[in-house]
C-alpha cells in the first residue's frame, strides 16, 4: 500500500512537472509562406532619386530626424533581409541636427495651431545660409526642390542656387553640374525615382503664378516632361537595372491646399462681423469674384495676418480681394490636375515599357484624402490631426513616410516576386503635440 501510494505521488508530480515544462517551451509559430527572396531583383546597391520627399524633408525643413525616416531609408532597412546592402544618406551631424531649421507646433488653442520655427542646432556654415557640406558617397540622392526639368538644367546654375544640392557637391562641381549628371555612375543594382512633383507643385504653391526669372515656379511642358523623364529612366536602367518609379500625387490631396477653405474663412469672419457677406478672390485671369470651396487657398494664409485687415477688409470686399498668388482658383485647379494626370500617364507608360515597378502614390494619396485606417491608426489628409502630413502641409511625417514606404515595398514585391518585409507603421510618429496647454 505504501509503495503504491509513493508511486502514485510520483506519477502526479511528474505529470505536473511535465505539464509546466511543456507549457513554458511551446510558443506558437507563424509561418511566412513566401519565404525570403529578392525575386528577380538585386537589392545589393539601392539608390533613391528624387526631391524633398525622398530626402526626408519635413515640417518645412531638412533635419536629421526627418532624414532618418525618409521612405527610401525605411525601404533600404527592410531590403537588408533580402540581400540589400548598406544605404548611405547625407545626414546632418548630431550636434547640428536641426539642419535648415523646421517648424514645430508650439501651441494648440481651441484647435488653432501656433507654429514656431526651430532655430537652434542649425547646420548653416556661413551667413549666406549655405549648409554643411557632405562629401562621402551617398545613396539617398533626394534633393529638396529638384524637378524633372531642372535635372537637365543646361545652365548648370541650379547646382549652386539650391543649397541642398550645393552641400552635396565639391567646390569644383558647384555651378558645373546638373542632377542628371550627378545621379549617374553610381554602380547601382536597384533604384527608386519619385520626381516630378515640383514640376507642377512649384507653380501651384505660388498660387499658379510663375515668377519671371524663377525656374522653380514654372509649369513644365507636358511633352518636355515626358521626354526628360524617359532620359532619366534610360540613364538609371543603362546597366539593365531594375527599379521602381512613383507617380505624382494630386495637389488637392495635400493639407497645404485643403485646410484653409473660403467657407471656413467666411464663418470666421461672420463670427466677428455678422455683416460679412462673402470671401472675394482675384483669379488667375485677374478677375475678382466670390470664392467657393472649389477655390483652394494656400495654407500659410492662415497665419499671414491679412484676412479682414484694413479699412476695406482684406478678402471680404471686391475692392480688396485675396491676391491671386494666395489662391489656386478652380480653373487653375483644373489646369494643375490636367498636368499631373499627363505627367503620371507619361511616368506609367515609360515605366511599363521598361518593365519597372510603379508605386502609384497618386492613387494612394487619393485614398488617404478620403481616410484610411492602418494597423489601428486613422490616417487622413487633414492638417495636423491627419497624421500623415507634417506641419508644412506638403511633406510627410515619419508615419506618412512609413505608409508610403509600404506602398513602394508592395509594388516592388508584386513586380519582382521579392519578399521585402513591410514597415511597421505603428513605430513611427505623426505630428508632435505640445505637452503644455
Amino acid at each position: 500500500m505504501v509503495g503504491e501510494f509513493k508511486m502514485k505521488k510520483y506519477i502526479l508530480n511528474s505529470f505536473i512537472a511535465a505539464a509546466i515544462l511543456f507549457a513554458a517551451a511551446c510558443k506558437p509559430e507563424i509561418e511566412t509562406p513566401a519565404g525570403t527572396t529578392a525575386g528577380q531583383a538585386n537589392f545589393s546597391k539601392y539608390i533613391a532619386v528624387g526631391n524633398s520627399l525622398t530626402s526626408g524633408y519635413a515640417d518645412g525643413g531638412l533635419y536629421l530626424e526627418g532624414q532618418k525616416v525618409a521612405y527610401p531609408n525605411l525601404i533600404a532597412a527592410k531590403m537588408s533581409s533580402v540581400g540589400g546592402g548598406a544605404f548611405t544618406s547625407p545626414f546632418f551631424n548630431e550636434d547640428r541636427s536641426n539642419g535648415s531649421g523646421y517648424l514645430s507646433l508650439s501651441a494648440l488653442v481651441n484647435g488653432s495651431p501656433t507654429l514656431t520655427q526651430v532655430t537652434d542646432k542649425l547646420a548653416y556654415r556661413d551667413a549666406a545660409k549655405h549648409l554643411d557640406k557632405y562629401s562621402s558617397e551617398i545613396q539617398n540622392l533626394g534633393i529638396p526642390g529638384m524637378r524633372v526639368d531642372l535635372s537637365f538644367d543646361p545652365t548648370l546654375t541650379f547646382s549652386a542656387a539650391n543649397p541642398f544640392f550645393e552641400r552635396l557637391l565639391t567646390d569644383a562641381q558647384v555651378g558645373k553640374t546638373n542632377y542628371f549628371q550627378y545621379i549617374q555612375g553610381r554602380n547601382h543594382t536597384f533604384f527608386s525615382i519619385w520626381l516630378g512633383n515640383n514640376d507642377v507643385l512649384g507653380y501651384a504653391l505660388n498660387g499658379a503664378v510663375t515668377v519671371p526669372g524663377d525656374p522653380t515656379t514654372v509649369l513644365t511642358d507636358k511633352v518636355t516632361f515626358s521626354s526628360l523623364y524617359a532620359n532619366l529612366l534610360n540613364a538609371l536602367t543603362a546597366g539593365g537595372q531594375k527599379g521602381i518609379v512613383a507617380t505624382i500625387p494630386d495637389v488637392t490631396a495635400i493639407p497645404y491646399f485643403n485646410t484653409v477653405k473660403p467657407s471656413l474663412l467666411l464663418a470666421a469672419a461672420k463670427a466677428s462681423n455678422p455683416a460679412a457677406q462673402a470671401v472675394f478672390i482675384q483669379t488667375g485671369t485677374g478677375a475678382v469674384r466670390v470664392a467657393t470651396d472649389e477655390d483652394l487657398i494656400r495654407l500659410p494664409f492662415q497665419s499671414a495676418g491679412l484676412f479682414g485687415q484694413g479699412t476695406i477688409p482684406y478678402g471680404l470686399h471686391p475692392l480688396n480681394p485675396i491676391a491671386n498668388s494666395w489662391v489656386l482658383d478652380k480653373d487653375e485647379v483644373i489646369k494643375v490636375k490636367d498636368y499631373v494626370n499627363s505627367y503620371n500617364s507619361s511616368i506609367k507608360s515609360i515605366a511599363t515599357s521598361k518593365g519597372l515597378a510603379i508605386a502609384d502614390t497618386y492613387a494612394y494619396f487619393n485614398q488617404v484624402k478620403a481616410g484610411v485606417v492602418v494597423q489601428g491608426i486613422g490616417i487622413n489628409a487633414a492638417f495636423i490631426s491627419g497624421g500623415a502630413f507634417s506641419l508644412d502641409g506638403i511633406h510627410l511625417t515619419p508615419r506618412g513616410n512609413a505608409v508610403i514606404a509600404n506602398v513602394f515595398i508592395d509594388a516592388i514585391n508584386a513586380k519582382y516576386g521579392s519578399t521585402i518585409p513591410t514597415v511597421d507603421v505603428t513605430q513611427y510618429r505623426g505630428v508632435k503635440f505640445p505637452d503644455s496647454k
Binding site: E4, F5, K8, L12, F15, I16, A19, I20, F22, A23, A24, C26, K27, P28, E29, I30, T32, T36, S81, A107, L108, N110, G111, S112, P113, V260, L264, L265, A268, Q302, G371, V372, V373, Q375, G376, I377, G378, A382, I384, S385, G387, R399, N406, I409, D410, N413, P421, T422, D424, T426, Q427, R429, G430, V431, K432, F433, P434, D435, S436, K437
Partner: protein, 407 residues
Amino acid sequence: MKKILLSVLLSAPLWVLGQGFQVNLQGQKQIGMAGAGSALALDEASVFYNPGAVSFLEKNSVSAGVNPLLFKSAFKQTGSNVTENVKNKIAPPFEFYAVWGPKSNKWKLGLGVYTPFGGLVDWGNDWSGRYALTSLNLKAIYFQPTLSIKITDRIGIGAGFVYNHGDVNLQRALPVNFPDGRSGHATLEGTGKGYGWNAGLYIKTLSNISFALVHKSKVITKLDNGTAEFDVPGSLRSSFPAGNTFSAELPLPSTTSLGVGIPLSQSTTLAFDASWVQWHIYQDLSFDYASNTPALADTKSARNYRDGSSFKLGINHQASEKLALRAGVGYALSPVQDGYVTPEAPDADRYILSAGLGYTPTRHFEVNASFFFEDVKSRKQRNIETGLDGTFKTLVYAPGISLTYKW
C-alpha cells in the same frame, strides 16, 4: 479657424469578447475529459456542468481548485518578417464548490463560485497592434447558489441563480504623439455586475446511459462609473478631460448543452457534450462617456457575432480503487466572423486536448489534477474597424489541481 478633429482616434473599438474569453475550466475531472461530463454525476462541479445531476451525488462535499492558465498568442503583421508574442502572464481561473443535502433524501443544495469568462492578454506597449490594444485583464466571477431535486430514481432537475461580478482593465495606445515622440495611452477600468441562471436536467436510462440538457442563461453585465483615463499631451487635454468616467454593457452569452454519458464497463465511462453558445446577442459594443468632446464621442462598434459551438469527448477510467485516469478531445467553432478578430481575443476555431487523473487516498479526501491544451488555428485577418492586418496564432496551456473533502 480649423478645428482639429480627433474623433478618428477613438472610432476604433475598445474591446471585444470571443470564444477566447469563454474559459472552459470549471472542474478538474471534467477538464481532464476536455470539458465533457454534463451527463455524469461526477462530483460537486456538477453545480456548474449540470445542476440536475447534483441530487445524484452520493456524498456531501466541498472542493477548491485552480487552473493557472497560460495564453500564448503570437501575431505577425501581413508582409512583415517579425513575429510578436504576448507577455507570459498567468491567469488564475478558479473554482469552489460545496454540495450538501441530508443523506438518502431527494434534494441537495449547492454553491458554486467559478470564472466562466475572462482574459489576460498583455502585448506590451510597443507591439505593432498597440493602437488596437496593449493589454486586457477581464474577469467574470459567477456566484451560483443551487437547488437540485431527484424527481425519480432516474431523473434529476436543478437550477441555480447566478450573480456575476465583473472586473475589466483595458489599455491601448492612442496615435497622438508627445514632444518626445511617445504615444498617448488610454486606460479604461471598471467593475460591473449582472444576473442570470443555470438549469439542468439529468436522466439516467435503464441501460445506465445518461443524458443531460443544460441551459446557462446570458448574463448582461453592466459597468457603471468606470474610470476612463487618457494620457495625452497637455495641448489635447481639453479634448480628453481628466477624471472622466464611462459606462458599458458586456453581454455574456447563454450556453445550451446536450450531454451523453455511456458506461463502457464497470470502470470506464465515456462522456460527450455538444454546446451551443449564443453569442449572437453580441451585435455591438457601446461606450458611453460621462464627458464628451468633439474628439471623445460615445462609441458604438459593430461586432456581429454569430453563435459558437463546441464538441467534446472524454473518457474516465477508474484504474484502481484510488486512481482514476482521464483524457479528452474537443473542437470548438469560433463565433467571431472574418473582419472582427481582435488582439484581445484572437479567436479562431480550435482543437482541445486534455488529460487528467484523480487520486483518492482516503474516504474523505480526493486530489484531482488536469492538463488542458487548446490549439487555436492560425487566422489571417484584416480587422474592419482598426485595419489591424496580420496573422494570429494562439496556444493555451492550463494545468490544474483541486482538493476535495467529502463526507
